[in-house]
């Protein structure tokens, strides 16, 4: 189970296997600036500071270019962490929308 750490704020959450970074943060009661959730609009891009992500679904070249990927840009609605990762939001802050969801994030029914 990869750990995700988010800057600013140094917030850490556990990600499920095959869960995108976006899904993991929202499941843990957090919100940030997102758009289509489907890899098309690019607004949920962040900087990947440490760790490795994969894209297990197609992402359009004009949304996330190869050089962006090399330089550490991560499209959070499609990126799945395969190691512990640290990301930095771009001109945005993580907002906690539910402390209950954060508290009980480990309790799941599937």
């Amino acid at each position: 189970m990869p750990k995700l750490t988010v800057e600013p704020g140094d917030v850490t959450v556990d990600l499920l296997d095959d869960e995108t970074i976006l899904e993991g943060l929202y499941r843990n009661g957090f919100a940030y600036r997102i758009g289509c959730r489907r890899g098309g609009c690019a607004i949920c891009k962040v900087d990947l500071l440490q760790g490795e992500v994969i894209y297990n679904r197609p992402v359009a070249d004009n949304v996330l270019t190869e050089s962006e990927q090399t330089e550490g840009t991560c499209l959070t609605c499609r990126a799945v962490a395969v190691t512990d990762v640290r990301i930095a939001l771009r001109e945005d802050n993580l907002r906690r929308v539910s402390s209950l969801m954060s508290l009980y994030a480990a309790t799941r029914t599937g």
Binding site: G35, C36, R37, G39, C41, I43, R57, A60
Partner: protein, 304 residues
């Protein structure tokens, strides 16, 4: 009247299988052709061969087409568009499957707009002989027809003038910097017939598509559509709600590639002598989302 309506919208999708599931099973369109990596659809209340085309690879706008009543209307737009200074090429029948001769105009933004007067007839799903009110086994939200699109452009006034002077449209509503005559136009809603808009233009730094919309049969169907979106895990941008602009009821949602779609219903009938409604930027929240009266952080920043 030269142009009758927006006839088709053609967009790219990153995953054809997922997009087919969305447009057929969630939006409820009828597939009429699959050829060369493109899939063609029509709504149940449309009679022409197709109104939506999806193409695998990438995301976003490819082109749209407006259907004219007669071939002479296409020629008339060709003459005017050339005089206006926009590049125009002729397209021959079959270049778009099942579409007749026409022209393709390239706006300075790069958006391609096609005009044609013939498309293979397919027929209404309810037929035209003693028809029922809707298809008995509608799928998903059962979108009846394509309605309009909103394009992101960097020169609203210039492109608005093209649609008015060359295509014969007029503005039902505008967002502009002030109520003065020399105000800068930020957005415009253009119509050719009696609907609120057939195409809308919004000032933006990039030339993209903001959304394309399907006309629904009323608020009940809008609410029902939102229920279906939850069942099918379709990301909703906003809604169900009402627009201040056009008074239409709406849901904005995203297809599996991230292209924004809309279900739209209502609005008022527009006659050509109706005065243009004007909104100012301080009221933009209410203009766009009449109930929440504030913009979310996606609506004006996300397009494909």
């Amino acid at each position: 009247m030269a142009v009758m309506r927006m006839g088709y919208m053609h967009v790219r999708v990153t995953d054809l299988a997922e997009a087919k599931d969305h447009y057929a099973n969630t939006v409820g369109l009828y597939q009429t052709l699959e050829q060369d990596g493109r899939v063609y659809y029509k709504g149940w209340d449309e009679w022409d061969h197709h109104s939506v085309v999806i193409e695998e690879g990438g995301v976003g706008y490819v082109k749209c087409g407006f259907k004219c009543e007669k071939p002479e209307d296409v020629s008339d737009i060709e003459t005017k568009a050339i005089a206006y200074g926009y590049p125009v090429v002729r397209m021959v029948a079959g270049e778009n499957p099942e579409v007749g001769d026409g022209i393709r105009v390239t706006l300075p933004t790069g958006h391609q707009i096609e005009f044609y007067s013939q498309m293979t007839a397919w027929g209404l799903e309810v037929g035209t002989h003693n028809p029922d009110a809707f298809p008995r086994h509608m799928v998903g939200i059962g979108a009846p027809r394509l309605d309009h699109a909103l394009l992101w452009v960097d020169d609203v006034a210039g492109i608005e003038k093209f649609f008015m002077d060359c295509v014969g449209m007029w503005a039902t509503e505008r967002v502009q910097t002030s109520l003065d005559d020399d105000a800068h136009t930020i957005a415009t809603w253009l119509t050719i017939g009696e609907s609120n808009h057939d195409i809308a233009l919004l000032e933006a730094p990039e030339n993209k598509i903001h959304h394309f919309a399907f006309e629904m049969r009323g608020w009940n169907d809008i609410l029902h559509a939102a229920d279906i979106f939850s069942m099918d895990d379709v990301p909703i941008d906003i809604g169900p709600t009402r627009h201040g602009i056009t008074r239409g009821t709406t849901i904005y949602f995203f297809d599996p590639a991230g292209n924004r779609n809309e279900t739209f219903s209502g609005g008022y009938r527009c006659f050509r002598d109706r005065p243009t409604v004007v909104w100012t930027p301080d009221q933009l929240g209410k203009a766009i989302f009449y109930h929440s009266r504030e913009l979310n952080d996606r609506f004006l920043t996300v397009a494909t």
